[in-house]
Amino acid sequence: MSRSRTWTIVKREFLATTRTKGFLLGTLFGPAIMAGWILLPALFAESGGTREVVVIDGTRTDLGSAVAEQLTRDSEEMAFAARVVAPPPGDADSVRAEMAAKTAAGEIDGYVWLPPGLPAGESASYEARHATNLREVRSVRSAIDDAVRQARLRAAGIDASTLSEALRPTPFEAREVTAEGRGAAASGEAMMMTAIIAVFVIYFIILLYGNNVLRGVREEKENRVVEIVLSSIRAEQLMAGKVFGIGGACLLQVAIWVAVAGLVAAFGEDIVRAIGGQPPALPDLPLSAAFVYVFFFAGGFFLYASIYAALGSLATSGQDAQNMQFAAMVPLMVAFFMAFGVMNDPESRLAVVASLIPFTSLIVVPLRAILGAIPWSQVVLSAVLLALTCWGTLWVAGRIYRVTVLATGQRPSVRRLWRWVRAS
């Protein structure tokens, strides 16, 4: 007959949280963002097809051919098939009207108009069915720019190939080096992007689920169900069950996201290549960083969730609860904004101090671990401090919860609250 009562609460809170539409939508949201990040560029690249364009060369030079040549060159951006039409003198308008009609009829995708004064600075134009497609417009513009630039260089007696060789950008790559070895090319940027996403996930998830805890406590208090529950278990057990149940739902959601991220990392490149796209650079994250992330995320959640629970038990009205919510948000926001400073220099004194304060370490330590910029000694010390603070906060919050959850009327002063907590 004997079952863990806290476990019963954990189970109820977990199910009450995971059975909502909000949870389902939130769980799908993460993978949708990841899929969008990886697949959409590739899908868009595929969706355009080859653009059939006509270059109407009113300059009566070889600029038209040069533009057509630039357009049809192999490009990652977009594929074009281009032919040049040289209109009879004074009859450009009728040719343009004819091409406009063909464009409207779908016979061609568009036409480029190179006016006679183009080399002197007159404006070229591109009229097309997809003139709002930024990549298409960018390709046409770049082709015209290149052709005109080369013509000007030739006119000035400068060899275009010599100049372009001299101006060729120097290849550069940032590559992350970790204890596990060197990362792939471009892993530094990808690592930074991962770190930013990781920080956002911790911040928003704790905010979201912390508020869930606060709202849950307030609702229990408001609809008085708390009294019947407290006749069976201690207030501390109820609070812990609530924090761990909602925390479990939260961790499940993040675990699903991480699993999808893992699948993306494992198969994303192949899928993107299979549909003909260019895969984005993926970070080479050491496994240890994932462990640090999960530990600090969970520890941080329990730390803040117990604070939210205690504040929820103190709230005497909806307005009061909102003020309380803000009080708990402040240290979390400090940690969040600190993260951006830490990103610039993950081994600065600010980074070290923020790693040792449990209210900020939950964001700063995983961030530094992802960036590979924290020694293990600091990770261990931070973890111990976070665990101790978590335990202490759960203890104090449990007592506040116990003495205030049945209270109604005016909120007690801090001094009175402390007296109650010590006496309980």
């Binding site: 004997s2 609809n223 019947i228 529950v229 049945l406």
Partner: protein, 313 residues
């Protein structure tokens, strides 16, 4: 079975400057139906909450079913709080299963009992509906089921009849009587004397956090109710009533329509009173020495009725 169901000695509980319970002593024998009777704010709910350790007492000793109130004894108690509420989005059977599990029953064990009780209180057809779709009265019945589904040795009901219509009040009284015959202990609080009078065999009248009277109902009435005479006047005239009030044997007159109950003064002889009224020409069709009601005990000991409902026989 030797120890009482509840034993409280010197219980004290304060909220800031307010003393809610002030040195309370009481004993609830096993198998009793025990009423905590008192006006609002007399300390009934606080006393009950300390029995369940929902609130810690500031001083005093509390023993429930022979033990210190704690995790082991909580499973043997069923509780219906005064301020009722359930999880509105949970389904009826789900919420009962959850509350039974908190009392140590596995869902498999609780299922048949829950179904039986839902049938008993006419809620079988709503078993899979969400709690928030039930009427207030139905939710109250559901809470009552939650208090008794694990067959506790001690059932504590805090103002169980408030908010129920007369039909459901009667149904609840029948269930309480049934629980009583199964030799389980029932402790309920009420501010309505009629309910205590009808159901309980033991009573504690509370006033300002103190027990003014406590014990078996018959003894309480005998020892604390004073001596009373019931009268019916015929014809009823203001002069007759004035004559009754003026008699030196009469300490107090309680009047309810044409029925009158007199509290006799200390040492007064009812026969002397009868002779005086007959000689004074007061028309009487009934004159009897009556057992005092709890209401009269309340008036004798506290001085004012908790509420008007159920006043005077």
């Amino acid at each position: 079975m030797g120890s009482p169901a509840v034993q409280i000695r010197g219980l004290r509980k304060e909220y800031g400057d307010t003393v809610a319970v002030d040195g309370l002593d009481l004993v609830v024998p096993r198998g009793a139906t025990y009423a905590l009777l008192g006006p609002n704010g007399s300390g009934k709910t606080t006393t009950i909450r300390t029995l369940l350790r929902i609130q810690e007492p500031d001083a005093g000793e509390v023993r429930v079913l022979g033990e210190e109130p704690g995790p082991s004894v909580r499973d043997r108690i069923g509780y219906l709080p005064e301020e009722r509420g359930l999880y509105p989005r949970m389904k009826v059977r789900e919420v009962l299963t959850f509350l039974a599990e908190l009392k140590g029953m596995s869902p498999r064990d609780s299922r048949p009992r829950i179904d039986g009780w839902l049938d008993r209180v006419d809620l079988s057809e709503r078993a899979d509906d969400r709690v928030q779709t039930l009427s207030k009265g139905m939710q109250q019945k559901l809470q009552f089921v939650a208090a008794v589904v694990h067959e506790p040795e001690l059932v504590i009901l805090d103002e169980p009849f408030s908010g129920l219509d007369p039909i459901n009040q009667q149904a609840l009284r029948e269930i309480v009587a049934e629980i009583h015959t199964s030799e389980r202990t029932i402790l309920f609080s009420t501010h309505i004397i009629e309910h205590a009078e009808r159901l309980c065999d033991h009573v504690c009248i509370l006033s300002h956090g103190r027990a003014v009277v406590e014990g078996e109902v018959g003894r309480v009435k005998r020892e604390h109710g004073g001596r009373h005479v019931g009268l019916t006047l015929d014809p009823w005239t203001p002069e007759s009533v004035a004559a009754v009030r003026a008699a030196p044997e009469v300490a107090r007159v309680h009047q309810d329509g044409h029925a009158i109950v007199l509290s006799l003064a200390d040492g007064a002889d009812p026969r002397a009173l009868l002779a005086r009224l007959v000689q004074g020409g007061v028309g009487l069709i009934r004159f009897e020495v009556v057992e005092p009601s709890l209401h009269q005990v309340f008036l004798e000991r506290v001085g004012a009725p908790p509420i008007e409902e159920g006043a005077l026989v």
